[in-house]
Structures are given as structure tokens and as C-alpha cells.
């Protein structure tokens, strides 16, 4: 039971970083990207390759994952941010679909559909962090750093600029804001952090394949942000806890057969999203203005 909870908490920390990074785009800048799982995947694959071929040091692998995910995000940002609103959603959808195919076909880099296996346990500066408890501490530390950085950025001029362009792009431009540079920068920063989440995911699972980085994963990440409260610091984390705890909670209900948990879970997700959008469109935390 403890092992199960530690695993759940680790996943919450990892997806908490991923959702927080997506919130930079969706919640603060108003950029609806559905390609975030792609950058999560890039981070995971890069970290896995570094661990397998260079060093199992988490700091090295996570830095490589974050830098590569951030750099490749320019491929999304530079062409796609020339278009607005729903066109960007369509562009990011196309990129996500393309990435899923590349992840499945680029055998030398990703191991193809079979994925990359045997990722060695993480180490930090020679110290072993392979045990579930130690890895949970590492994941929580990464989450804490991510939240602290995002909080600092969003309370500063960068955050104000993002919210300004979200509220009125033309007015932001009229007050000297280079909207394209701002959007590009926030996409890069967001993908840098999801690269770290990907690295944690790779070490935690010791195995990565395309199934974890599909369009469905992007949609789940978006749901986590929206359900929790887009544009708030803690909202995405609350969304992650809600969505990851649900299957765990359902498995403890004796009247739901184990084989039906997936179906019930999908039904609850859908009902929850619909109800929230009708009654609390700003999400669970979104109502609490002080949390911004």
C-alpha cells in the first residue's frame, strides 16, 4: 500500500511539473497547445538516451532533456505562433500527430513502438536515488523548483506581459510588447520544464515508449490544467491530483469490477469536465482569486 502511494505521489509530482509548464502557455499566455505530450516525450527520450549511453546522472539527463525540448519547441513556436487562436491549436495538433508517428518509427532514437528499455536507476552526483522514496523526494524537489520559478516569473514583468497579451493582444502590442517574442519565449520556457518532467518520467518508469506521449496524453494534460484552474499557480497541481487520484480511488470501490474501472473513469472525467465548464469555468482553484 505504501509503495502504491509513493508511486502515485511520484506520478503526481511528475505530472504536476508537466501541467504547471502547460499552464504557462494556456493559463497565462492564452496559447492553446495540444502538442505538450510531444515535448514531454522528447524530454523522456533524451533523458533515456543520455542515461543509456552517456551517464545515469539525473542532473545531466534532465538538463539535456530540458534543453533539447526547449530548443525543439522553437519548431512549434516560430512557424505556428504566426497564426492566431484556433489556427495555432490546429498547427499544434498536426505537430503532435507527426511526433507520435516519429516516436513510433525512429527506431534508432526512440526504440520504435517497443520503446527504450532498461533505463538505469537515477544517480545524482554519484549518489544513488534509485529507491522509490529517494526518487519521490527528487520528484518533489523538482516540482517545488518548478513552482517557485513559475511563481517568480508570473509575479514579475514577464508574467504581466503574458497576461496582458492573453487579455488583449492588440493593446499589449500598442504598449510596446513584442508579442511574437513573448509567445516564443513562453513556449520555450514551458517546454524546458516539461522536458524535466519527461526526464523524471523516464527514470521513474525505467522504460519509455510512444504510448505515453500521444495526443490523448496532451488532452489529459490540458484537462488537468483546465479542471484545476488555468492561470493559477496551484490549479494545475490540483487538477493532476484530481485526475490521477481518481483511478486509485475507484480501485478501492468494491462494487466496480476491476475490468470496468477504465470505462467508469472516462465517464467521470467527461462528466467532471462538462460540469466544471458549466458551473466553474475557471476551474477548481480558479474561483479563489488570491491563488493567482
Amino acid at each position: 500500500m505504501i509503495a502504491y502511494l509513493v508511486n502515485l505521489a511520484t506520478l503526481i509530482a511528475i505530472f504536476g511539473i508537466a501541467a504547471t509548464s502547460l499552464n504557462l502557455l494556456i493559463g497565462y499566455a492564452g496559447i492553446f497547445s495540444i502538442a505538450h505530450a510531444m515535448f514531454f516525450g522528447i524530454g523522456a527520450y533524451v533523458a533515456a538516451q543520455v542515461a543509456l549511453t552517456v551517464s545515469p546522472d539525473f542532473l545531466v539527463a534532465a538538463l539535456a532533456a530540458a534543453v533539447v525540448a526547449g530548443a525543439l519547441s522553437l519548431c512549434l513556436a516560430l512557424p505556428a505562433l504566426r497564426v492566431r487562436g484556433e489556427y495555432f491549436v490546429a498547427a499544434s495538433l498536426g505537430l503532435q500527430m507527426m511526433a507520435s508517428t516519429i516516436f513510433a518509427e525512429a527506431h534508432s532514437l526512440t526504440g520504435g513502438v517497443g520503446g527504450l528499455v532498461g533505463i538505469p536507476p537515477a544517480r545524482i552526483l554519484g549518489f544513488d536515488v534509485a529507491s522509490p522514496d529517494a526518487f519521490l523526494v527528487l520528484a518533489l524537489a523538482c516540482l517545488a523548483v518548478t513552482l517557485a520559478v513559475v511563481r517568480t516569473l508570473m509575479r514579475g514583468s514577464f508574467g504581466r506581459s503574458l497576461m496582458a497579451l492573453r487579455d488583449s493582444e492588440s493593446a499589449a502590442e500598442a504598449f510596446g510588447k513584442d508579442v511574437r517574442a513573448l509567445k516564443t519565449l513562453v513556449v520555450v520556457v514551458g517546454c524546458f520544464f516539461v522536458g524535466i518532467a519527461g526526464a523524471l518520467f523516464a527514470f521513474h518508469m525505467a522504460f519509455v515508449n510512444v504510448e505515453s506521449f500521444t495526443l490523448e496524453q496532451s488532452v489529459v494534460l490540458m484537462a488537468m490544467v483546465i479542471i484545476g484552474g488555468a492561470g493559477t499557480l496551484t490549479g494545475p497541481l490540483v487538477g493532476v491530483i484530481a485526475l490521477l487520484s481518481l483511478p486509485a480511488a475507484l480501485s478501492f470501490l468494491p462494487f466496480i469490477p476491476a475490468t470496468e474501472i477504465g470505462t467508469v473513469q472516462q465517464f467521470i472525467y467527461g462528466a467532471l469536465m462538462t460540469a466544471l465548464m458549466i458551473f466553474r469555468p475557471s476551474g477548481i482553484v480558479g474561483l479563489s482569486r488570491g491563488a493567482r
Binding site: M163, A164, D167, S168, S170, F175, D178, A181
Partner: protein, 250 residues
């Protein structure tokens, strides 16, 4: 006009499909002078603002700031050159506080932090406080823009412009719908600014405000500039007034 020309648009035109929104309009803004753009709805006044500020690109014509072309520059680059504008629908940053609305308007750098360190930040805070004091919004600094009253939103729009310290203001119906007391405060704000050397171009339907503030009026109709002159010349022209109130020319 005795003062130098700061901003000029010459022979500027813009069409949307087959509809000519602005046709061969020339406008000069002189330093410290208030120029009002008058004309009925659809005359091309806001389009002219958009063409000057880079929100739209002219099909033909030239736009110059202090003799240097600013044609084709992106809106943020035009803004950084000292042209501040307001919008008819205000376009406030609704989710942000009054204070942050004004502060954000003077933080143009897109990077993760602004230049100037703590002294730069202190200077910007001072600019914000002065703008809020001038517009009477100091006590509402923490209020979200979306929660302001109508008149307060109008003054917040002005506060953002004042804080920029821009030498040229383009104001799009800044006083529409204001009560007489607020209107008087608005007039004083503009007068104080022009006394300090600010150049103002104003789109305003309220002829009382135009009469009170404007040194010059450019009259537009159907995308063309029909006349330009002193307020008494323009407002004393029966034909222009007929057009203004909706009686079309033959």
C-alpha cells in the same frame, strides 16, 4: 502652426476588398497641439489610427515620425518610438489589477525581466503612482480592471497612456459616455499634458469636448479628408455639420 510637425501621414490609403476605408488622407500633428478627427461613423478615423500605429499597413502613402519613416513597423516598434494610443473599446488587461495594467504598459521588454535593475523598477513604480494619482485611481490600485465602473475604465485607459511618458497620444473616443464631472477631469488631463508638450490626436463624437480641447479639426467622411482647420472654421461649416449629423452630400 508655429510648432514643428512631429508626426505626419501623407497620401495614406487603405482598402478592404473593394471598400476604400481611407483614401489619400494627409494629416500632420504639430508638437503640443490637439488635433481632433471628426466625422460620422465609418469615416475612417479609427482606421487612420491603425494605419499610423502599424496595426494596419497602408496600401499607399507615407507615415513619418520627426521626419523618419515608420511605415511598415510593427505596432510594438511604433509604440516604443513614443506613440501611445487608446482604443475605442479600451482593451484593458481585464484580469489584472489597475496597478498592474499601468505597470505592464511601461514594461515593454519581452524577456524574463526588465532592464535597469531595482532603480529601474523603482522609477517605473513612481511613474505608475503618478499616473494613478493624475487619473484619480490611486485608491483602486488593487482592483481588477474588470471590476471597475465605466468611468474608471476610461481613466485607466488614460493612466496607461500617461505612464508611458509618450510625446504623442492618439486617443480613440476617450471621453464617450462620461458624465459631466468626469468629462471635466478628462479635459484637464489632456490640457495638462499638452501644456507639458504632449501632442494629441483625438477621435471624439462629443462636439463640446472637441470645442474645448481641439486646436485643429480634420474632418473625414467616407475615408476622405474633406477639410481641416480651426474648430470655428470646421464647426461653422453648415455642409460639414450636415454630413456629421447624417445628411449625405449630393
Amino acid at each position: 502652426m508655429n510648432t514643428p510637425v512631429l508626426l505626419s501621414a501623407r497620401g495614406i490609403s487603405r482598402s478592404f476588398g473593394g471598400n476604400a476605408a481611407v483614401q489619400d488622407v494627409t494629416l500632420e500633428l504639430h508638437q503640443g497641439v490637439v488635433t481632433a478627427l471628426a466625422g460620422p461613423n465609418g469615416a475612417g478615423k479609427t482606421t487612420l489610427f491603425n494605419l499610423i500605429t502599424g496595426h494596419l499597413v497602408p496600401d499607399r502613402g507615407a507615415v513619418e515620425l520627426k521626419g523618419a519613416s515608420i511605415l511598415g513597423l510593427k505596432p510594438h516598434r511604433v509604440a516604443l518610438k513614443g506613440i501611445a494610443r487608446s482604443f475605442q473599446d479600451l482593451r484593458l488587461f481585464g484580469s489584472m489589477s489597475v496597478y498592474d495594467n499601468v505597470l505592464s504598459a511601461i514594461e515593454p521588454t519581452p524577456w524574463l525581466w526588465q532592464p535597469g535593475g531595482s532603480s529601474g523598477a523603482a522609477a517605473r513604480r513612481l511613474q505608475v503612482e503618478r499616473a494613478l494619482d493624475a487619473t484619480g485611481l490611486a485608491e483602486l490600485a488593487g482592483t481588477r480592471a474588470i471590476d471597475l465602473s465605466y468611468a474608471e475604465t476610461k481613466f485607466l485607459s488614460m493612466a496607461r497612456i500617461i505612464a508611458t511618458g509618450a510625446p504623442i497620444w492618439l486617443l480613440d473616443e476617450p471621453a464617450s459616455g462620461l458624465d459631466p464631472a468626469s468629462r471635466a477631469r478628462f479635459v484637464k488631463l489632456v490640457r495638462d499634458a499638452t501644456a507639458a508638450g504632449v501632442t494629441v490626436c483625438l477621435i471624439e463624437h462629443n462636439l463640446d469636448i472637441v470645442t474645448e480641447l481641439a486646436d485643429r479639426i480634420a474632418f473625414l467622411d467616407q475615408g476622405r479628408k474633406l477639410a481641416e482647420g480651426r474648430p470655428d472654421q470646421i464647426l461653422g461649416d453648415a455642409e460639414l455639420i450636415a454630413i456629421y449629423f447624417g445628411e449625405r452630400r449630393e
